[in-house]
C-alpha cells in the first residue's frame, strides 16, 4: 500500500526551482532513500511533506491526508532535520520526555528502549549543550523517534557522526524497518545501498530514477551502484 503519494510537486524560490514536477510514491513500511548531491531538493521535499514549506504547485497525500490537512499529517509524522536541533539547556532525558509529551505519548518503556538503542544511558542527565556534536546528533534523531511516528523523515541522519556511530545508527535504523515508514536522505551511496529498500535519485530538482538498488544498476547498465549513480546524476545536461 502506498502511504505517500507525490504528484507533480514543484517548488520555486525566487531564483531557483528547488523541485520541478517531482512525482513518486512511497510504500507503507518501506525504508525509502532520497539520494542526490547538494542542492538536489531533498530537504525541500521533506519540508513540504512535513508542513514546513508550501509547494508552488502539485499535490501530495500522506497517509490519505492531502497537504491541506497538514494538522492531521503532523500528528503521525516526525522529522529529524538536517541541522541538529534539541533544547540545549535541557538534559537528554528532559529532551526525550518533552518531545514525547508533545505528541501526547506517555510510554516509559518505549523511552527506555530508545535510550538503549542510541546508547544514551550514560549521558541521560547531561545537558544537551555539554555533549559533543555527534552525541547531540544522536539525541536529535532519538527525539524524532520518541513520538512513535507512523512516518519518519531523517534528513541526512549520519551527518557529523564518526564511522562507529554511523554504523550503530545504521543498526538502529535497520531495526526500525517494518515498524514505520522511513524516508531518509543522504549523499552517501554506501549508506543508501546498505539501508534502503528503494531509492529515488534526484538532481537539481528533478527526479531522475527510482527503484531498488539492483533495478537502478540495471537501468544504468552498470555493476556498481556508484557507477550507476554517476551515470544517472552526472548525465543531466546543464
Amino acid at each position: 500500500m502506498e502511504i505517500i503519494n507525490i504528484n507533480k510537486i514543484t517548488k520555486h524560490y525566487k531564483t531557483v526551482k528547488a523541485l520541478d514536477e517531482v512525482s513518486l510514491s512511497i510504500h507503507e513500511g518501506e525504508l525509502f532513500g532520497l539520494l542526490g548531491v547538494n542542492g538536489a531538493g531533498k530537504t525541500t521535499l521533506i519540508r513540504i511533506l512535513s508542513g514546513l514549506a508550501k509547494a508552488t504547485s502539485g499535490e501530495a497525500t500522506v497517509d490519505g491526508y492531502s497537504l491541506k490537512q497538514i494538522d492531521e499529517i503532523k500528528k503521525i509524522i516526525d522529522v529529524s532535520p538536517q541541522e541538529t536541533s534539541v533544547a540545549m539547556n535541557l538534559t537528554v532525558k528532559e529532551n526525550l520526555e518533552f518531545f514525547q509529551s508533545l505528541y501526547d505519548i506517555d510510554d516509559k518503556e518505549y523511552l527506555d528502549s530508545i535510550v538503549n538503542s542510541f546508547s544514551l544511558g550514560e549521558v541521560l542527565n547531561k545537558r544537551a549543550k555539554t555533549l559533543s556534536g555527534g552525541w547531540q546528533r544522536r539525541l536529535s534523531i532519538a527525539v524524532a523517534l520518541i513520538s512513535k511516528p507512523k512516518i519518519i523523515f531523517l534528513d541526512e541522519p549520519t551527518l557529523g557522526l564518526d564511522v562507529l556511530a554511523r554504523r550503530e545508527l545504521w543498526k538502529v535504523i535497520k531495526s526500525l524497518k517494518g515498524k514505520m515508514t522511513i524516508v531518509l536522505t543522504s549523499h552517501y551511496l554506501e549508506e543508501i545501498e546498505a539501508l534502503c529498500d528503494r531509492v529515488a535519485i534526484m538532481s537539481k530538482g528533478h527526479l531522475l530514477d527510482i527503484g531498488t538498488v539492483e533495478e537502478i544498476k540495471k537501468h544504468a547498465n552498470e555493476d556498481s551502484f556508484e557507477e550507476a549513480f554517476v551515470k544517472i546524476a552526472g548525465g543531466i545536461v546543464e
Binding site: 522529522v79 536541533s85 509529551s101
Partner: protein, 270 residues
C-alpha cells in the same frame, strides 16, 4: 492547554538555568537600589526624594522588566536560530500554544522580580527609616505593575521573533535606557516641566507615576516650604489620563506582538 504548559515548562527550565538571568533580571535592579542609597548618603537631606524607596522602587521595577524583555527576546531568537522552533512547527502545536508557552514563563519571572524588588524595598526602606509602603499598598503596586510587565514580555517576544540573537539585545537595550531615563527613576522628572510632560505620553513614566501614587511618594521640593510640607504624587492629579494611556499601551503592545508572531510563523513556512 496541556501543550502550553509543556512548552512553558521547557522555556522556564531553560531560562532559569541561564546564570545571565540572575545577573540581569535580579542582580542589576538590586544593585541600582544600592547605588541610589549610596547617592542619597551624599545628597543634602530631603532634597532628592526621587531616590527614596517610595519613588525609586516603581522605577526599579520597570527597569527590571526591560532587562527581562532583553532575556525574553534572546530566548526566542535563539530558539529560532537553532532551528528548534522550526522543528516544533512540524509538531502538532498551534500558534496560540507557542505564544502562551513563551509569555507564561516570561511573566512568571517578572512576577518573581516584582516580589524580590518589593522585599528589597522594604529592607532598604526600613533600614534607612524612610519607609516604603503598607502591605495592602504593596499588593496594589504589584497589580499596578502587571500591565508594564505584559508590555515588556510581549515586546520581548516580538523582537525575538523578528531579530537574531545579535540585534535583539541591541534593540532591547534602548528600552533598558528608556526605562531608567524617561521612566523618571534616574532623575527628578518632576522638576523638568516640558520634558516631564513628554515622558507622560509614554508608558514608562505612566507606570512609575501611578506606582508612586500607590506608595505615596513625594515630589521634589521646590523651596524650603515644600521640604517641610511635602507634596505627594496623587492619582487625582493626572491618574485617570495616565492609567488609560497605560492600559492602552498594554493592549497595543500585546496585540502587535501576537500579530507579528503569527505572521512570522506563517511566513517562515513558505
Amino acid at each position: 492547554m496541556k501543550k502550553v504548559l509543556l512548552f512553558a515548562k521547557r522555556n522556564l527550565t531553560e531560562m532559569v538555568r541561564d546564570p545571565l538571568l540572575y545577573i540581569f533580571c535580579i542582580g542589576f535592579p538590586i544593585m541600582m537600589i544600592g547605588v541610589f542609597n549610596i547617592i542619597l548618603g551624599f545628597a543634602p537631606e530631603g532634597k532628592t526624594p526621587v531616590f527614596y524607596e517610595k519613588s525609586l522602587i516603581p522605577g526599579i521595577m520597570i527597569f527590571g522588566f526591560s532587562l527581562l524583555m532583553l532575556m525574553s527576546a534572546l530566548h526566542v531568537s535563539k530558539d529560532r536560530q537553532s532551528a528548534f522552533l522550526k522543528r516544533l512547527f512540524s509538531s502538532p502545536m498551534k500558534p496560540y500554544q507557542f505564544i502562551l508557552g513563551y509569555l507564561l514563563p516570561f511573566c512568571l519571572i517578572g512576577i518573581a522580580q516584582i516580589i524580590i524588588v518589593i522585599i528589597t524595598g522594604y529592607i532598604f526602606g526600613s533600614a534607612s527609616g524612610r519607609g516604603f509602603v503598607s502591605f495592602p499598598g504593596a499588593l496594589l503596586l504589584f497589580v499596578e505593575m502587571l500591565p508594564m510587565l505584559i508590555i515588556n514580555v510581549s515586546l520581548g517576544m516580538m523582537f525575538g521573533t523578528i531579530l537574531n540573537d545579535k540585534s535583539s539585545p541591541a534593540i532591547c537595550s534602548i528600552f533598558v535606557s528608556a526605562s531608567g531615563i524617561i521612566g523618571g527613576s534616574w532623575m527628578p522628572l518632576d522638576t523638568m516641566g516640558g520634558f516631564e510632560k513628554f515622558c507622560g505620553y509614554l508608558p514608562f513614566y505612566q507606570a512609575v507615576y501611578l506606582g508612586r501614587c500607590v506608595t505615596g511618594a513625594i515630589h521634589t521640593p521646590v523651596d524650603m516650604e515644600t521640604t517641610i510640607n511635602p507634596v505627594l504624587y496623587t492619582f487625582a492629579d493626572r491618574g485617570i489620563l495616565y492609567l488609560s494611556m497605560y492600559l492602552g499601551y498594554m493592549v497595543l503592545c500585546a496585540a502587535l506582538s501576537l500579530f507579528v508572531f503569527t505572521r512570522k510563523m506563517k511566513s517562515d513556512i513558505n
